[in-house]
């Protein structure tokens, strides 16, 4: 019997038990669609993060407290991380800023602090993330481009001035397009004058950058004055184009290590951030996929179960086929192919389903789930493998039936 004839015969057998076949495929449909959905969303998130990191600008280096180098792949995956150092805010000191300032490779830099608090204008309240930055932050934070008014200057340090993002303008003044420059808004008992607004960021898709909508900016020293400390949470540095980014990051790190221990600070390039993100994502994807695979096993057992029922029901047919000259191999091929057709149909419906889920996901989060050729190949591979593994035993049972007994079966 040719391969094509066997496929045709399998399709007829499946079609003549439509409801049963569909119910049997359900496990495969759910299994394949959950695996494919998770893989495609994982890929989508990675692409999104990659575009975010490249949108930050070029030649950027970030100094953060705590050693997170263990999370990047480039260091060989040493996961011994002291998490306590992430939240310690008093590691980076003004002296470090002075050190960085002296380096010829550094074009711009800005220290950054974060506070939480609430703002009010007349009867409207906002609860933004209050970010203290230095004037050069406009060069080191990509989305920070001035729309109306101006950004801070060195003279503004310590003054009660504020720069708003469009979303915060909307919350406080009711309209994104409102020009609030010169307006006085309250933070606690302190009055702040709005000196500028930043542009709406050009793309809305990045989940990571959604924080940006929630920010307002204050001069760095002003934040220190409010919090009563000289802490620095992060330092953003833009390297001069004439220098190699990796070498410079290494140099900054070594310079800072003269006054810090190894687990106190991390110096990251954009590439490092991407590596970190990708390793976190791949671990998450693998874990969730492993859980989703359980449903594939359940689906496979369902296929095996129904194939065993089908073999028993069709005992007489097997007897007839053997009587007219089918070999054990032909019978085996027929039932194995039938199982594979079942799992592949289930897989195809599963992929279609995850395509639908991807569309909904994109509408909800603006992240495009990526179903590419590789993903389709994965689904096909999964389906065929499950079909073979769980179809083999029923097919073997069918092939080994005694023709005389099979013909007598009622």
């Amino acid at each position: 019997m040719t391969f094509l004839e066997a496929i045709k015969s399998g399709l007829i057998a499946i079609w003549s038990n439509k409801i049963r076949s569909f119910l049997t495929m359900l496990g495969m449909i759910i299994g394949v669609s959950s695996v494919i959905t998770l893989v495609s969303i994982g890929k989508g998130v990675y692409q999104d993060v990659a575009s975010l990191v490249s949108d930050m600008g070029t030649n950027l280096v970030f100094v953060v407290s705590g050693d997170i180098s263990g999370m990047t792949q480039s260091t060989g995956g040493n996961y011994a991380v002291n998490p306590a150092n992430f939240i310690k805010a008093d590691i980076l000191k003004p002296a470090d800023l002075a050190t960085i300032k002296t380096m010829p490779e550094v074009e711009y830099f800005s220290a950054m602090n974060i506070l939480s608090g609430f703002l009010s204008f007349e009867n409207k309240n906002a609860y933004p993330m209050i970010v203290g930055v230095q004037p050069d932050a406009v060069h080191t934070i990509q989305n920070l481009a001035i729309d109306k008014g101006r950004f801070f200057t060195e003279e503004d340090n310590g003054k009660y001035l504020i720069v708003l993002t469009p979303n915060q303008v909307e919350v406080l003044f009711g309209d994104k397009k409102f020009d609030p420059v010169g307006k006085k808004i309250m933070a606690g008992k302190q009055e702040y004058e709005v000196v500028g607004t930043v542009k709406q960021k050009k793309q809305e898709t990045n989940i990571i950058s959604s924080d940006f909508d929630n920010m307002v900016f204050l001069p760095f020293e002003t934040v220190n004055k409010i919090s009563g400390s000289t802490q620095i949470m992060r330092i953003f540095i833009k390297i001069n184009d004439n220098f190699d980014i990796k070498e410079t990051a290494e140099k900054i790190k070594n310079t800072l290590l003269e006054t810090h221990t190894k687990d106190e600070i991390s110096v990251l390039t954009q590439e490092d951030m991407l590596d970190m993100m990708s390793s976190i994502l791949s671990i998450m994807t693998i874990m969730i996929t492993a859980i989703a695979s359980i449903s594939l096993v359940v689906g496979g057992v369902g296929i095996m179960n129904i194939m065993l029922v089908s073999v028993t029901e069709r005992t007489r047919e097997i007897g007839i086929r053997k009587a007219i000259g089918a070999t054990d191999g032909e019978i085996m091929k027929q039932f194995l192919l039938e199982a594979i057709i079942l799992t592949m149909l289930g897989g195809a419906i599963g992929v279609a389903l995850s395509y639908g889920v991807g569309i909904i996901f994109e509408a909800q989060t603006s992240i495009q789930a990526v179903i590419d050729a590789q993903t389709i190949l994965l689904a096909t591979g999964i389906s065929i493998t499950i079909g073979i593994i769980f179809g083999l035993f029923p097919a073997y049972r069918a092939a080994k039936k005694d023709p005389v007994d099979a013909l007598r079966y009622e």
Partner: protein, 222 residues
Amino acid sequence: MDKKIIELKNMTKVYVQGEAELKILQTINLDIFKGEFVAIKGPSGSGKSTLLHIIGLLDKPTSGKYLLEKQLIDKKTKPNTLAKLRLKKIGFVFQTFNLIPRISALANVELPMIYSKLENPKKKAKQLIKMVGLAERANHVPNKMSGGERQRIAIARALANNPEIILADEPTGNLDSKTGSQIINILKELNQKGKTIIVVTHDDEVARVAKRIIEIKDGRII
């Protein structure tokens, strides 16, 4: 006409059920010549169906020899060898027709030719169905056909790979006498065209058509 096509020598068939041995067939010696029309008669339980199954290669002898066109078949013969011989040399016709219910009459007749990888099985199947007089019913499924029609399709299927031997197990058992006679006539015609036909039957009319009658009782030819 005197070429031996089937030779059984001291052939026995024993089924083991737990402790007991059931001797179904005992020391069968039988020669059947090419072009014969043989009827095997006997009471139920006499072993005549088992004899037909062994001749038809669905079952193997426990001891003794079976030569099918000089090819030796004994208990050591591999299932695959038997399947391939069945495919080429033997056509079966059963009492209960044994057509596959899900597929059309045409597809049923095509099936043995698909297994033997014959070219253009559909064309040949149509010719065979036309020959048994059911050309206009070829695309119906067996369940939509009468008993007589089903048996004619079964005969068409038995002829698919142009086998030497047609084996029929009570071919008229489930048919009324009129359609039964039609089936007997078809078998008779096939015999006249040179096919060797072996029929297991209770039906005296079938036995009358046969040129030789073999009677079996308690597993022995009498």
